[in-house]
């Protein structure tokens, strides 16, 4: 007899003796509970077995402990005949899964039984403990199940599987492909999941893989399995046909006993007895899903709209504007809502760019996803627009182009044109006082503020502009013309005086030259000519009219000017030569006259 056979028989004998003893000690049905193991790691499960030795009618209350999750995994009913007497028994096997670490007390299932204690330690480092989705936190107590799903391949020891779900059609480059990775682990046969599942191959990228998978439980081929489901978006970077599979690293418990010895363990379908006798060892394995073929195509160039930005999926659009009534210059918000499923990261719209009588601004967008992976939802574009003219205005329809992978062609969705009513701006209002008063009265806003002085009566001349007259271009032309005219006159006077001064200077120079040369005739001719021009300007005469007789008449004979005119006549007609000192004297006379004229 082998040692394993001996241990099994000892266990059977112990159970049988205790049952018989209990029957002999009491007439009441005996209900007792055991939990194995009493100390586990977080992420593992313990097994709670409630055995009822009796007719099975004793009600059993399902324990409820905060932080522990109880799930019924099996019920058995047996009738044993021992020494001619029948002994019915029923067992309820529950899996106890801790949600947190700590020491838990499981209350007694019957008033006469004892409470149980379960110690839960934190998971050893390096082990990945998936957290259950909140939606799966309250599973039904009775498991449902069926045969192994199609396309699922269990590991050789039947402890786990990985299933990859992808669309059964061709996909396109740039398309967001929703995928689902399901990891099934047979209860008690898998110690831990050591990481997130991943895709095998370099031609794919997996985006938005959730760290909180959906947790579920299911009977597969009659065996309880814990299922973790991840959903994600798959992107393909190049065309071709690819083999796609998913793998998940985990630690499974490998049996060290023969199948025949392990029959009793499998009787309850869990490793309770294996753990009890230490007949398993942990082993790290990568569980892989069966490969699937995925055909990737490029987007067709034919029929591609000009406003196509790479969005692939199925979309609908709707637009609105708020408010629908506004004043000229008031900002309004034009919204374009794109709903559907697909590659929302490629969903883009320039909205309206150049619309007559409207001022448009760059839009901004926001995305609200309806699933955890961002595959479906609604993207909203908001664009501020401002009307520049009053009246009934119509904003043109908006359009959005995308590629529908189901119909395999480009589609363009269009919204309906939007009608808005634009009122004149208050800033541009040309209402009269009467209109304002009437409008105020009609709206009931008329008030009578005490302290406001009364209106003015009487007509006043109106002005076309509030800009002061002296700043208006038409008025400014008049002073400008005046300034120019005065400037021109001033310049003319200056030139005339400049010409006279120049001729006098020339005459003085000629007189000085004649004096130096001793030319009496030339000197007096120049002196008389200079004085003639000077007096002609003063007396409004021609220079020739300023003669000695005229000098005599106007200035008298006792005068140096008169004497100079006489000397000039003498030198011209008699040829008398005066002294050289006379030149200086008469030059001074002429200069004095010129200086007197300048000073006036």
């Amino acid at each position: 007899m082998s040692s394993s056979q001996f241990r099994s028989r000892c266990l059977f004998a112990t159970l049988l003796m205790s049952l018989l003893g209990a029957t002999a000690l009491a007439d009441d049905p005996l209900v007792y509970a055991t939990i194995q193991p009493a100390q586990i790691y977080l992420g593992d499960s313990a097994q709670l077995t409630i055995t009822n030795l009796g007719d099975g009618t004793t009600p059993i209350t399902l324990p409820s402990v905060s932080g522990l999750k109880f799930e019924i995994v099996a019920r058995t009913h047996e009738i044993q005949i021992i020494n001619g007497s029948t002994l019915p028994s029923s067992s309820t096997v529950m899996r106890v899964t801790p949600q947190i670490a700590g020491i838990f007390t499981i209350p007694a299932v019957t008033p006469k039984s004892q409470p149980l204690v379960l110690q839960v330690n934190a998971a050893p480092s390096g082990a990945y403990v998936p957290r259950a989705d909140t939606r799966a936190a309250q599973p039904p107590p009775i498991l449902s199940g069926g045969p192994l799903p199609k396309g699922v391949r269990l590991t050789d020891d039947g402890s786990a599987y990985v299933r990859l779900s992808i669309p059964k059609r061709e996909v396109y480059i740039g398309e967001s492909i929703p995928v689902e990775i399901e990891v099934g682990m047979r209860s008690g046969f898998v110690s831990s999941l050591n990481g997130l599942p991943k895709l095998a191959g370099d031609n794919f990228t997996l985006n938005n893989l959730s760290h909180q998978p959906e947790r579920n439980e299911k009977l597969i081929n009659g065996e309880p399995f814990v299922l973790f489901t991840w959903r994600s978006i798959l992107s393909v970077v190049k065309p071709g046909t690819f083999s796609l599979s998913a793998e998940a690293p985990m630690t499974v418990k490998i049996r060290t006993r023969s199948k025949r010895d392990a029959l009793m363990d499998d009787r309850f379908g869990d490793p309770f007895f294996q753990n009890l006798f230490g007949t398993t060892i942990p082993k790290d394995v990568d569980v892989t899903s069966p490969p699937q073929e995925l055909k990737v195509m490029e987007l067709p160039a034919e029929g591609r709209p000009a406003d196509f930005h790479g969005a692939i999926g199925t979309f609908n659009i709707i637009s609105d504007i708020s408010p629908v009534k506004a004043d000229v210059g008031d900002p309004m918000t034009l919204r374009l809502r794109i709903t559907g499923s697909g590659s929302f990261d490629r969903v883009d719209s320039a909205m309206l760019e150049h619309v007559d009588q409207w001022k448009t601004y760059p839009p901004k967008s926001s995305f609200n996803t309806s699933d955890p992976i961002g595959f479906s939802g609604m993207k909203t574009f908001e664009q501020p627009v401002i009307a520049s003219k009053p009246g009934a205005q119509t904003l043109p329809a908006l359009s959005f182009s995308y590629f529908d992978p189901n119909t395999r062609r480009y589609e363009t969705a269009r919204s309906t044109p939007l009608n808005v009513a634009i009122s004149p701006s208050l800033a541009d209002s040309t209402l009269t006082a009467g209109q304002v008063a009437a409008n105020a009265a009609a709206s009931g806003a008329l008030k009578s503020p005490v302290g406001l002085r009364p209106d003015h009566v009487g007509d006043e001349a109106s002005t076309p502009s509030l800009t002061p007259l002296y700043l208006r271009p038409k008025f400014l032309a008049i002073p400008s013309f005046l300034v120019l005219a005065f400037a021109a006159g001033w310049v003319g006077v200056r030139r005339r005086r400049g010409g006279e001064s120049k001729s006098i200077v020339q005459a003085i120079a000629q007189m000085e030259a004649a004096a130096r040369a001793g030319n009496e005739r030339l000197f007096f001719d120049s002196a008389r000519g200079t004085l003639q021009r000077l007096f002609a300007a003063q007396w409004r005469l021609l220079p020739e009219e300023v003669t000695t007789a005229e000098i005599n008449t106007r200035m008298g004979v006792d005068n140096e000017v008169h004497r100079l005119f006489e000397l000039a006549d003498e030198s011209k007609y008699s040829g008398r030569a005066p002294d050289a000192t006379d030149f200086v004297r008469w030059l001074r006379v002429v200069r004095d006259r010129l200086a007197g004229e300048k000073s006036t």
């Binding site: 008030k447 002296y470 002073p479």
Partner: protein, 218 residues
């Protein structure tokens, strides 16, 4: 006449007045009395922004009208806006209306020009000529001073919408820097695509939608 009948007549009269006012042609141009009456109407209608705007416009045409001044201060104080004080320079420069000062300045220019050109007058008229130049310069200088005093007002605007948002950039998005009360007078610095860059009395600047502000001198 009973109270009900009087009320009906009053309402009917108001409605009739409204119809007549709407049917009447809008007079072209501005007049101080018209703007003053319009401002009074806005003040009674509870629109301090438009009231302040039209009082300011009326004051441009008639700077020394005591009614305009009093009602403007009343509306500003009713709207809890700070009182506006006029400096001595403003009072002197605004001794007459800008239109009258325009003609005075023109006359001064003519006097100065004539006196400058009359340089060939006999010596006994020199003092008269100098006095004429001085008078002309004073007349033209008064007009120039009026222009200097009015220049800020000609580049100012009035907020006509309550709690007008002032934004950091000329786009209608994002949170405003601060808000302006209705009736506040601000300096208009620049314009850009439906927005006006304003500067408040205490030096704060930002962009305001054109629909929320109106220039005193459009």
């Amino acid at each position: 006449m009973s109270t009900l009948a009087r009320t009906l007549c009053l309402v009917a009269g108001l409605q009739l007045g409204a119809l007549q006012a709407l049917a009447a042609p809008v007079p072209a141009g501005y007049s101080a009395a018209g703007l003053y009456n319009l401002a009074n109407s806005y003040a009674r209608a509870g629109k301090p922004g438009m009231a302040v705007l039209n009082y300011e416009r009326a004051r441009l045409l008639s700077p020394n009208d005591p009614d305009v001044e009093a009602n403007l201060q009343f509306v500003r104080s009713s709207a809890h806006l700070p009182a506006e004080t006029r400096s001595t320079f403003d009072r002197v420069a605004g001794v007459a209306s800008p239109s009258l000062l325009a003609w005075i300045g023109m006359a001064g220019l003519i006097v100065v020009g004539a006196c400058v050109l009359a340089g060939r007058l006999p010596a006994r008229h020199r003092h008269l000529r100098r006095a004429g130049i001085l008078l002309g310069v004073c007349m033209a200088g008064l007009t120039v001073c009026n222009g200097i005093a009015l220049w800020p007002k000609l580049h100012a605007g009035v907020v006509i919408v309550a709690a007008t948002p002032v934004r950091v950039s000329p786009v209608p998005m994002g949170d405003p820097l601060f808000t302006l009360p209705e009736g506040e007078t601000v300096k208009l610095a620049a314009e850009h695509e439906g927005f006006t860059l304003i500067r408040t009395r205490n030096g704060r600047a930002g962009w305001v939608s054109k629909a929320n502000i109106a220039a005193i001198a459009p």
